[in-house]
Symmetry: C2
Amino acid sequence: MHKAYVLGIEMTKFTRDPRLRIEKMGAEAVWGAIKEAGIDLKDIQEVYCGNVYNGVGVGQKVMVEVGYMGMPIINLENACSSGSNAVREIYLGVTSGRIDVGLAVGVENLTSVIKGPLVDEDDLEGAMGNSFTAIYAQRARRYMWEYGLKPEHLAKISVNNKRNAYYNEKASYGELIDIATVLNSRMVADPLHLYDCNTNADGAAAAVIVSEKITKRIGGKPVEIVASSLRSGKLPDRFIDMTFEDVTHRTAQDAYKQAGIGPKDIEFAEVHDCFTIAEILRVEGLGLCERGGMVKWIEDGTIELTGKRPINPSGGLLGKGHPIGATGIAQIYEICKQLRGEAGKRQIPGARIGLAMNRGGAVAGIEANACTVTILRGE
Amino acid sequence: MHKAYVLGIEMTKFTRDPRLRIEKMGAEAVWGAIKEAGIDLKDIQEVYCGNVYNGVGVGQKVMVEVGYMGMPIINLENACSSGSNAVREIYLGVTSGRIDVGLAVGVENLTSVIKGPLVDEDDLEGAMGNSFTAIYAQRARRYMWEYGLKPEHLAKISVNNKRNAYYNEKASYGELIDIATVLNSRMVADPLHLYDCNTNADGAAAAVIVSEKITKRIGGKPVEIVASSLRSGKLPDRFIDMTFEDVTHRTAQDAYKQAGIGPKDIEFAEVHDCFTIAEILRVEGLGLCERGGMVKWIEDGTIELTGKRPINPSGGLLGKGHPIGATGIAQIYEICKQLRGEAGKRQIPGARIGLAMNRGGAVAGIEANACTVTILRGE
């Protein structure tokens, strides 16, 4: 198997502006990634584009705006995993030897399409009120009962992620707040307050992924992708075990096997914190700590930038906002920035191995449409 | 590189019924393909699903209905090429050695979503009336001027494809008509009459694609995929040359190279005949005959079932109807049926090598979002 590297990666500032056009946002990210990679636009052999809600030919529209066409362009949809799914496809193209230079792009104008919470109109349960927010609230309650989690613990995750985002110029929800701010914010679905919930947003991210041959020719600051796994969910995890994510576990195990490492080797991670409780479930599903262990990790600051296992140094979805098609690549953007020592005030000293975990969707009652785990290693 | 085979393939009868649910249609096709392949549902290692207009998680909804989840499921959108794009991804998975058993599914409930002609709301030209039908009418006019094509030639393609479809139980637009029927049908966009245009429809198709190892274990009637290529368009071909399709040419050339054969080796083909003129442009773009050569091929019956180079033995889009996500796999279904000698009254005697050509979309003024060419070889 060939090796694959991120040679250039860029994201737009995530924000809320329904007027932002997907082709403009996408092109901004693509141009940034190409410039950083130091490649020629014509070197790109394949493009995979992740998007959920913006219609037909999104990748083509972006590439027309970028200014070059002709290579195969394929659009992917896998709910909130769409962007990292695009990275997986390019990774597979490079590692199989099919291509030497590929482009993964993720983009979403979400605020012009979705005004309230995301509910599939075919999802009877969701239509009757059991939206994502309600389901995560139930999972939080169960976790509280099992492991002694308190609303203050949840709040501290929000405080942490929004503080990280405060030092991230690409994030729109960075704030220096305290636990009281979270607990005094409007209750959305008990025990989740407004500050426990992520925000629909608009944005794009793109990554140029290349073979070893290209890194040797161009140089630059390549970050190796040592694992890229995707799995889809089976039954809803909440029907099996409300506080443990089977699909996250299965995807992570596959990724660790690919990388030849274990969860203890992961120094920091970006995880899909659509809600504060989600961050807890993800970290434990990944096996970064044992079940229930996040209570202590929150208390003792392990997951903070200065802690032993920083989680969501970028600010996560809570701190950046969540333009669903772009989110997965934005996570990988942060991993690359950290591994290259370019994260500024968010820098985790000496970071060498990071993991990005993304998941999305729950159609027809399954646990998740897809979960992705990407592991990257710096020089 | 490993070899890849279609071991089981199925399609629903293409029809128009907005009440048909994607998961039901998809599951019918998937179950048929699995049964024919003689594999266990749990053997499927990856699923790619092509769909354009039916929202989030289509592949997941289909697989929940089928009754098994957990393998990676990825949804693709590439306009009318979505289904054949799904086949390409599974083909790449098998030929790269990543998987031994994959499932490509294409499905569309189009009639509940699209009531009139397909026009992208972002496409200014289309919104002002230059719809696909208008563009193809212009191309037909230019072809008439260049090569002496007459409305009767176009009509004869419709007669041929609808006659082929008459012998195809999966087609809804089969009819034994004559040239006068076409010429007397309502004019849609001069010179294209109603019978020169394909019909939006609903349906699904699925293919189980496996490695050589699996064919040796299971037997069955494997059909080898000897090439699978996908390219996206550059400028609109009508701005370069209205009667020649650059993207069709480029994709076909790549496919011939993969297969190690030339266009003269292609014994029959399914091509994307969204309009009668489209069939002409595709056959010539593929290089099956020289430019302008289709006039003679139509006259002398070369493209008929009893001719030397049958085109669209299934009836094509004109004869079957066009549920866009499913169309690409339905083309491959016909190639497999023919190569296995199972095409009944449509059978082309001794058929050994067939080609399926599909293309779709033209966002932002480009020639096509994607074109696919798949070449298959029988035992």
